[in-house]
Amino acid sequence: MSKDGSSAYLTTKLDVLINWGRKNSLWPLPFGTSCCGIEMMATLCSDYDMSRFGAEVVRFSPRQSDLLIVAGIINLKMAPILKTVYDQMSDPKYVMSFGACASSGGIFNVYSVLQGIDTLIPVDVYVPGCPPAPEGVLHALMRLQEMIAQGQTQSQKKRIEMKKGIS
């Protein structure tokens, strides 16, 4: 409906409309395990303000969120917990690997550290840096939004594969 009260309409494909809604209302779950978590908080705060991209509703419950931000080192003892949190999130879900430690283990190539969370769960965007700058995080978020609009994220692709399998 237009501002003057006259009716208006828009034609689109349902998928495109839904993905447009999804990309502009990401609800992040902050899985901040170390110093990258501080940088993530800075990105959420007013200076950089992640809410400009529709991603300000931080939820600490995996049931209510669709973007898992893994910010920081994941020890092998933490790995099962990360896996559980990821499994509890409902589809479609997206994963941002935030910083060097989450992406590759960083400088910690030792017995106790997971060498990249992509060995455990599928990752959509990686943010390089130790820790990454807030601009980098916003860039990753915008890249993720593009991917969602195009249906290119891991969980969307998996869903399409599943549909193909059924039909």
Partner: protein, 191 residues
Amino acid sequence: MDIRKPISSQGGDSILKFLDLWKKQASVLKQKFGVAIEEIRMPLDDLTDVPIVYVQKDSIISILKFLKEDSEFEYRFLADITATDEESEPRFELVYNLFSHQNRCRIRVKVRVRESDAVATAVSVWEGANWAEREVYDMFGIRFDGHPDLRRILMDHRWVGYPLRKDYPLRGYQMFVDSEPVNLSLLEQDK
């Protein structure tokens, strides 16, 4: 301030400040415990900043108790328990770092431990030794006799081996995708 003049470090300061006290304490220890004291390494004579007292395994608890309670020593604070893997026989050196609030100085007590040995627990002297000993057990596999709850504290309970031993591979990953099974008997204890 003249920047060319070397500034003595805090360690250097404390050596000069406490050396007389430490020498007195060393002679008292030797007199009282005799052969139970294997060796005492003093600062300035050896490469150390605090005296290192090597003691025999069987008398460790009585010596720790004496260091804590005697009015001339009063090392009442157990700063840390740790260990080193020497890769020789006996394999480990168990380290007790003590601090005296009264005299404001530190002392280090060491025990040489073979791989097959178990050491008496210090929980009877300091309650706080409980978790410190669990960490030593977790990382080095040194067992403590009489410990109330000798389980791993940092690593997963299904972990095989002891990561800080020299023969443990640096990248010896052990991946557990499932969470640790909950030990229900621990919940019962809390009630």
